[in-house]
């Protein structure tokens, strides 16, 4: 893959972001410093950066794809109120082990070959929960 400033900036934006930006967010932000940046370029590069494993693509129900700088195995929650995506942590390590054990141990009787498992949590984030209480 040949170098391009656009790809470098796109990767930089995702890796510096504390959130999980969508293509559109990346586009809107980078446009400020690169007014000629094209949305197609953002999509194409996010896709190829995910393919080569520099970032991770996260698909959510009824919404845009998000991109994640964190490559280690972890999970996400999509807030049904603010529609933002958050990393999810468990207070009991057993829980996260249960999830990753599951991914390893799956063995099915249909004879189909499982290549990966998507696990996505839905609910309401702490910020929106505290707003509700006010």
């Amino acid at each position: 893959m040949r170098y391009s400033v656009q790809r470098e900036k796109i990767l930089e934006f995702v890796t510096k972001s504390s959130e999980h930006p969508t293509a559109d967010i990346v586009y809107k932000n980078l446009r400020r410093e690169m007014p000629n940046l094209s949305l197609g370029t953002v999509y194409r590069n996010l896709t190829s950066l995910a393919r080569i494993g520099k970032i991770k693509k996260i698909t959510v129900a009824n919404g845009s794809d998000h991109y994640d700088k964190t490559l280690e195995n972890h999970y996400h929650i999509l807030c049904n109120k603010c529609k933002k995506l958050y990393d999810i942590y468990f207070n009991d390590t057993v829980d996260i082990e249960k999830v990753s054990d599951l991914e390893k141990s799956i063995n099915n009787e249909n004879g189909c070959k499982i290549s990966n498992i998507d696990i996505m949590f839905y609910g309401i984030c702490n910020k929106c929960l505290s707003k509700e209480r006010m």
Copy 2:
């Protein structure tokens, strides 16, 4: 919710299907006996039938939503080759228990309220695997 022939036929199609039809599949099939059926009607009714719990909506990465007649807790695999959705069964009941235990036991430290967990398997189905071997 007021009765309509359209909704009855849409529900019937999903419940009689051995597959997991998308809105478009339901539409194309029912059009044969109901030439004036509108795609919007199919979407609206699939959504409301899922809301009242008569069928289940299944969202997959990068593709149309599918609908499922089976209401009990179970999981699906999307074949990356033929793009069809299949029910997934495990030869060890421990596996399926691991999954549903997980759904119950999740307790997180972010203080967010988890309302549901989506678990989707991706891979290659047995039919496509046997084609590859030939």
